[in-house]
Amino acid sequence: MRAAEAVTCQPRRHRLAAALLVATIAATASPVLAQATSPVAPQGKRADLDGVWILARNATTENLKLTPAGEAARARYEPLRHDPDMKCIPASFTRVMHTPSPPTEIRQFADHVEINYEFMDVHRRVPIKPKLAIKDAPYAVVKFPHLGRSVGRYEGETLVIENGDVQAGVHDTLGTPGLPQSDQMHTVERFVPNGNTMQVIVTHTDPVYYQQPFVVTFTFQRLPGGKILPWDCTPEAASYERFFPQK
């Protein structure tokens, strides 16, 4: 079996597993429990995003215009001291996607999507519940609640994820290093599949630090046979503190 075929087979197993799980719950759970755990019917036509992806090219950023407060916040940024990476903390989903080599795995289920970013072991769960308010959604990454809450939906073949309730701080350290974010940062991510490539178009809105919404576009390609490895970051290894001259 070719590696590429192996990748396309993997999601089928997940779908089968999900179907078996749903059937088991329906057969054994009480009516109340069944109501609470039944998957929501998918909205729109589900995109074929299942698989493991790597960045295909450098991301592009458009309409980036900081407010005076944003300029001041960025001017205060010192990469060696303020980069959350140094503490093994992913700044934002945009920051995570900017990381080139660690791949990203997407697994679609009837009522949620799992996005497993190898970078910093970010395992994101996005409910597909269009009527769910972001404030009522669970934290998208249990391990990193500062990344906020996500809600997904399908628009045609595009998976759309809205994210909010993030913690104020550093937003990005790679694409444009030192970009800040307030707790009002709201993003809309559009996952657009195109065969073995996928675009993720992220529109960022944060009136505190940005004059207008800015857009970062990522282009991914499939990594046949790829799998997500543990990242196991430790602050001792990630930080440059050990290199600073002793005071």
Binding site: M86, C88, S101, F119, Y240, F243
Partner: protein, 148 residues
């Protein structure tokens, strides 16, 4: 296979510099001066291949006597494994010359560019750019060390 290796080598030469400038976990361009190269010659004291970045410690003798340690940062272990970089060739105790881009702020810290091994071969990192190009073409990138 030879053609693929040659292709990978060309891609390496064309892409590794450009890609590394923007594609690293901590921005290499922000932290390291890629307009400069420093040869660090000494004995490897320690190698730690890990995420988010690997580190090679090299003990460098001083002309006036004594020695100083240089810290060489490199890609994350997962990336090196995926790119099949034979990083295990770098072992404590061997004498090497590692060419680095020096840190913009910190003394004796640099980012790995290449390593001259005791047998005269040069170990490089094919880089993420070459890796993803090879994936797109369903080829295998080769990072085997080459004679200088």
């Amino acid at each position: 296979m030879l053609t693929r290796s040659v292709t990978a080598a060309i891609l390496l030469a064309a892409l590794v510099t450009a890609q590394r400038q923007v594609l690293a976990h901590h921005s290499v361009a922000v932290n390291f001066d890629q307009s400069k190269q420093v040869d660090v010659t000494g004995t490897i004291k320690e190698v730690v291949f890990r995420n988010p970045h690997s580190q090679i410690t090299v003990t460098v003798p001083k002309p006036e006597g004594g020695s100083t340690d240089w810290f060489v940062e490199w890609s994350d272990k997962n990336a090196l494994v995926r790119r099949a970089v034979p990083f295990e060739l770098l072992q404590p105790g061997i004498k090497v010359t590692i060419t680095v881009n020096p840190s913009r702020q910190l003394p004796n810290v640099g980012y790995f560019s290449k390593a001259l091994l005791p047998d005269g071969r040069v170990l490089r990192d094919c880089g993420f750019g070459a890796f993803r190009q090879s994936v797109a073409k369903q080829e295998t990138v080769s990072c085997e060390p080459q004679k200088q």
